[in-house]
Amino acid sequence: MRMRLPLLQGAWDKAGMLLVLALLFAACAACVDNFLTPRNMEGLGLAVSTVGIVSCTMMLCLAAGDFDLSVGSVVACAGVVAAVVMNRTGSVAAGIAAGLALGALVGLVNGVVVASFGINALITTLATMQIVRGLAYIIPGGVAVGIRTEGFFMLGNSKLMGVPTPVVIVALCFVVFGVLLHCTVFGRSALAVGGNREAAYLAGIPVTRVKIVIFTLQGLMAAFAGIILAARMTSGQPMTSQGLELEVISACVLGGVSLTGGVGSIGFVIAGVLIMGIVQNAMNLLNIPPFYQYVVRGAILLAAVLFDRFKHRRGA
């Protein structure tokens, strides 16, 4: 084992969860009926679209050493706000703008409180999570808002070159945020801030600004995901996406993004999101009873990280 080429070794180590993903995918393709059919792939893509979009910015957030629990509420509230505004004004653009504005605002507040006032991100975003969820109920009076503007549904239900629009969007997001993290000064600054805040500050990185921008982006993208979801559901749902925050953070961490900051890669995130999505999808296809799904999901999660760790150990 010592003899293995260091280069190969490095690739094998770095592959991390991508390898697990490949194995899982192969296993499902081989053993689960209907898994590889185009309609199932489509369904899988749609199923991970919300988590996928939100994960992109969560990756930045985690890379910078913070996290954001308010995303689930923002997804719901942005959908509701977009629906309400759309119904009131009849304009799709106005609705979308209102939803996005709400998300950006929530993100900005999170960012300012965390970065400028130095309050713990857990508490801050837990507080905004509650507030925003409350607003999602209050704005439409506790009920879901059906959307009457049919043009809007395009965003969620049309196809581009045979691929559902939300799937195209999430793929685009992966590309854009991958480039942002890996190829831009901003992305590298985020990693540096997460790696050692003090050192990054002394190296002249505008730590506070970086964090505020990240949180704002996070709010914006969560709102964007919420609007797409509303388009898919043809209504703004105040109680949707509860627990999304945990799902998103887990997907990122499963892929290998560090919770303590400084380590992140879009490949990790894609792997994490897809592993979680495939497990769920395969379980549904296999008709595993819901209570056993909990156990299987947990067990696979554990198995995946243990496998990855074992691989590393052997390599070390």
Binding site: G142, A144, G146, R232, Q237, P238, M239, T240, Q242
Partner: protein, 312 residues
């Protein structure tokens, strides 16, 4: 004569429910399972706690080769999206328990539906509470009514509002109705919410208790017990008729008086059978089927449960 369908017949039906953890939906599934065994089709059960998971589940069904599905939607306003998705994927659709609402706020009566109106169940609870109170001869002035609410869920709201309106319509003073909003729809949450109402209104000697389901009423009844109330001065009536069974089986009667047993057999078995017939024989089910709840209490619950097939 039914066609001789076998597991190999290729009929595959989905049964999606909003809260798979709830015993009520467990029962529905259990009956649907029975139908699948009796009639020979494959049943796919998926829990769909929110809109996104619902859409994903329908995708999954279609991918798995199902021809139709029965759904209790997490939100009635998801109706149009579910209908659109089902149409797009070519799946037959039957709504159970909760009726879809369209973008205009009206019921989508063109979608096949089987259920009982949440509001009506609530009203029956309210009526029964008033009847029992009168039968016991409690002085109205000393009776408070504790309603455990969970407005985040539309059907829960309908039920509790229905109960209150029936009570008030029967002559119970509206000022003596106290709402206890719970943070979480489980027993401890309802316990804490009810406790606060009891604290604020120590004067009442008797309590009427209702809520969105058995668990809500159970939590509230536990809270009244903590304040020294008992079966003699509390009347709690739940909805579901499943979570309350252990309560009826206790040696001593408790404040949990009765519950509206929903007919899970009809909701589970019949819907599945209707869907199966629709798929395999092309016989469309009626657009709107209504079922009735049955009031059960310590006296009759064993018999009714046996009749309904909930208990063997």
């Amino acid at each position: 004569r039914k066609p001789a369908a076998s597991p190999g017949s290729g009929v595959k039906i989905g049964f999606l429910v909003k809260q798979p953890e709830e015993p009520w939906f467990q029962l529905e599934w259990k009956f649907a399972d029975k139908a699948s065994r009796d009639l020979g089709f494959e049943l796919v059960k998926i829990g769909v706690p929110d809109g996104e998971k619902t859409l994903a589940a329908i995708d999954n069904l279609a991918a798995g080769g199902a021809q139709g599905f029965i759904i209790c939607t997490p939100d009635v306003r998801l109706g149009p999206a579910i209908v659109a998705k089902a149409t797009q994927k070519g799946l037959k659709l039957l709504a159970v328990d909760d009726q879809f609402i369209g973008p205009d706020g009206a019921f989508m009566t063109n979608v096949h539906y089987l259920g009982i109106s949440a509001r009506k169940i609530g009203e029956s609870v309210g009526g029964a509470l008033h009847k029992e109170m009168t039968a016991r001869g409690w002085p109205v002035g000393e009776v408070g009514c504790l309603v455990v609410t969970f407005d985040e869920l539309d059907t829960a709201k309908q039920r509790t509002e229905g109960a209150v309106s029936a009570l008030v319509a029967a002559g119970f003073p509206a000022g003596q109705v106290y709402r206890a909003p719970t943070r979480t729809p489980d027993i401890p949450g309802c316990f804490d919410a009810a406790n606060v109402v009891l604290t604020k209104n120590p004067a009442f000697k008797y309590w009427l208790v209702c809520g969105m389901n058995d668990n809500a009423v159970l939590g509230a009844v536990r809270a009244t017990e903590g304040r020294g109330f008992n079966a003699g001065n509390t009347i709690g009536i739940g909805i579901n008729g499943t979570d309350c069974i252990v309560e009826f089986e206790k040696e001593k009667p408790t404040g949990f008086f009765a519950s509206v047993l929903l007919t899970a057999r009809v909701h589970g078995y019949d819907t599945a059978a209707m869907m199966h017939r629709w798929i395999s024989e092309g016989i469309e089910p009626p657009l709107d089927t209504r079922t009735l709840g049955i009031m059960i209490d310590r006296a009759n619950f064993q018999q009714v449960l046996a009749e309904q097939g909930v208990r063997e």
